[in-house]
């Protein structure tokens, strides 16, 4: 169910986020897609782009995407295919102290691997520093580059964007 907060501000509340969150067991095993698409809209590129068939929208194209996290291997293909830019890949196995979060980033200039950036939450507020550990921009992604940030453990549910440090 959509929260009133999401409907009136565009900001998902804790219950919305929890509904999309993979099981802790699955998170421990490595990168996995988190699909933050909470509203019934006529859309399904997430389903058609996933090689593992981990996301299902089904016959009714307005249905919400359902994710089988056990089938997802965290390949990130769906992240750049989603027109809503609503999919993130979380890797809690990245290191002892840090997790990695992969997000779509359609702005210029692109950050470079190794840059330190300010990680932002869903409201665009700075919540911590982060290090850019990967930038991928292939032709297949069709101008939706993917940026992966290393963030302090415990911030996986919070960090959804970033800004460059001038």
């Amino acid at each position: 169910m959509l929260s009133d907060k999401l409907k009136s501000t565009g900001l998902a509340d804790a219950a919305d986020i929890q509904a999309a969150w993979p099981a802790e067991e699955r998170l421990k095993k490595g990168p996995v897609a988190v699909v933050e698409c909470f509203q019934e809209i006529p859309c399904n590129p997430c389903e058609t782009s996933c090689p593992q068939k981990a996301i299902v929208v089904g016959q009714d194209i307005n249905a919400l995407p359902r994710v089988d996290h056990s089938k997802c291997n965290g390949c990130t293909i769906c992240v750049s295919r989603c027109p809503g830019l609503a999919i993130f890949v979380i890797d809690e196995k990245y290191s002892e102290a840090e997790s990695a979060v992969t997000m779509p980033y359609e702005f210029l200039p692109l950050p470079q691997k190794g840059d330190t950036v300010e990680a932002l939450d869903r409201q665009g507020q700075t919540c911590c520093q982060a290090k850019v550990i990967r930038v991928v921009n292939t032709k297949a992604q069709d101008k939706t580059p993917l940026v992966t940030l290393a963030i302090p453990k415990g911030r996986e549910k919070v960090v959804r964007f970033f800004k460059l440090v001038p």
Binding site: L2, L6, K7, S8, T9, G10, L11, A12, E36, C37, F38, Q39, E40, I41, P42, C43, N44, P45, T48, S49, D60, I61, N62, A63, R81, C82, P83, G84, L85, A86, E106, F107, L108, L120, D121, R122, Q123, G124, Q125, D142, K143, T144, R160, F161
Partner: protein, 363 residues
């Protein structure tokens, strides 16, 4: 005087799909558009589209436009660009202005796929330079590469308001806020969320009281509003900005259909006055078809499918029925119904339902 089978007025997604569908069944349509470039609204849409694979979801709007235009060229379908249709005469002649010359075309079937125009709202200062329609801003930026200003207040949180805000941000323009009178965001929440996380507040239940500035926009005064749309005392805020962008809806561009004498009906769910049409998009006048935003403000994906239906309808009208044609019609109609099946299709569903009843009442 020219004669031709099928004239398509408007080269947006609806018109182009109609041309391709008609050509699949051997018709030789002529597509005219007032712009230089084919594609209608698509040419300025740099974001990825929603919908299903069959409607090219996940592809950027302008790429869809280029693909469709390329397919037209491949098939050798005749196109007149820079050629507005300026009148419809009682004998069925369509007057088209091309190279400063008026041409009288007398097609056996005609499709009005003319799209829609932007709505405006008035408030003190709304006539100041710096107040734009969102579509105009999108054209300036994405077709001509010109920034409208440095800082923008967006009015309206439908998909157009959200998408144009995002594109302004991509162009390096600061979006100060998006305001919306209704209690909830009108467009897709995934769009809203991606704007919010870049730090732009979306303020529902807010309105603009006035634009500030002497000879150009220097800012705006906004306010919270209550259930009756009255400003809440003490909630006024000044926003500094050099541009105010209005994304407050579209109205179907129906002049051709009025001139032709088609039965018109006022259906608020569809955006205003629209022509009654049957399942194959034929209006009350046999041989005159309509499709896309001009029959109700929706989406490019639905416009494409309505266009396809209209093209197939013209084939049926001119060449009669066939099993193959009927199969294709059923498939297209089924996909269109599928797109409209969700909560976002509700308005269109209800509107189209009302429109259908209008004919029954009049007949």
């Amino acid at each position: 005087m020219n004669t031709l089978d099928f004239l398509i007025i408007g080269g947006g997604p609806a018109g182009l799909m109609a041309a391709l569908a008609a050509s699949d069944f051997g018709l030789k349509p002529l597509v005219i558009d007032e712009n230089q470039k084919l594609g209608g609204q698509l040419i300025k849409q740099t974001h990825m589209f929603f919908g299903s694979k069959a409607e090219r979801a996940g592809t950027r709007g302008f790429d869809i436009g280029t693909e469709l235009a390329g397919e037209m060229e491949k098939r050798g379908i005749e196109i007149w660009s820079n050629s507005p249709a300026v009148g419809y005469y009682p004998d069925g002649t369509v007057a088209v202005l091309k190279n400063d010359k008026l041409h009288g075309l007398k097609p056996k079937a005609v499709l009005a796929a003319t799209g829609a125009s932007e709505n405006f709202v008035t408030f003190p200062g709304s006539d100041l330079p710096g107040v734009y329609g969102a579509g105009a801003v999108q054209t300036l930026m994405n077709v001509y590469g010109i920034k409208p200003g440095q800082s923008v207040l967006m009015i309206g949180s439908g998909n157009i308001g959200l998408i144009v805000s995002y594109q302004l941000m991509q162009a390096g323009v600061q979006v100060k806020a998006i305001i919306e009178g209704l209690p909830n965001i009108g467009g897709y929440l995934v769009h809203a969320s991606k704007i919010a996380r870049a730090g732009v507040p979306i303020l529902t239940r807010h309105t603009i009281l006035e634009a500030v500035g002497e000879d150009q926009v220097k800012g705006a005064v906004i306010s919270r509003i209550d259930d009756k749309w009255q400003p809440v005392a003490g909630s006024q805020q000044n926003i500094e900005c050099d541009t105010i962008c209005l994304a407050v809806g579209l109205t179907p561009l129906t002049e051709m259909l009025w001139q032709a004498g088609c039965q018109m009906n006022f259906v608020p769910e569809l955006g205003g006055q629209v022509a009654w049409h049957d399942e194959l998009m034929m209006t009350s006048i046999p041989g005159i078809f309509t499709a896309g935003d001009v029959t109700g403000i929706e989406e490019a994906s639905t416009a494409m499918l309505e266009g396809e239906l209209a093209g197939l309808g013209a084939v049926k009208y001119l060449k009669g029925d066939s099993k193959e044609l009927q199969c294709r019609i059923d498939d297209t109609a089924c996909r269109l119904a599928g797109l409209r099946a969700g909560p976002f299709g509700q308005k269109a569903r209800e509107g189209k339902c009302k429109l259908k009843e209008c004919r029954i009442k009049q007949v």
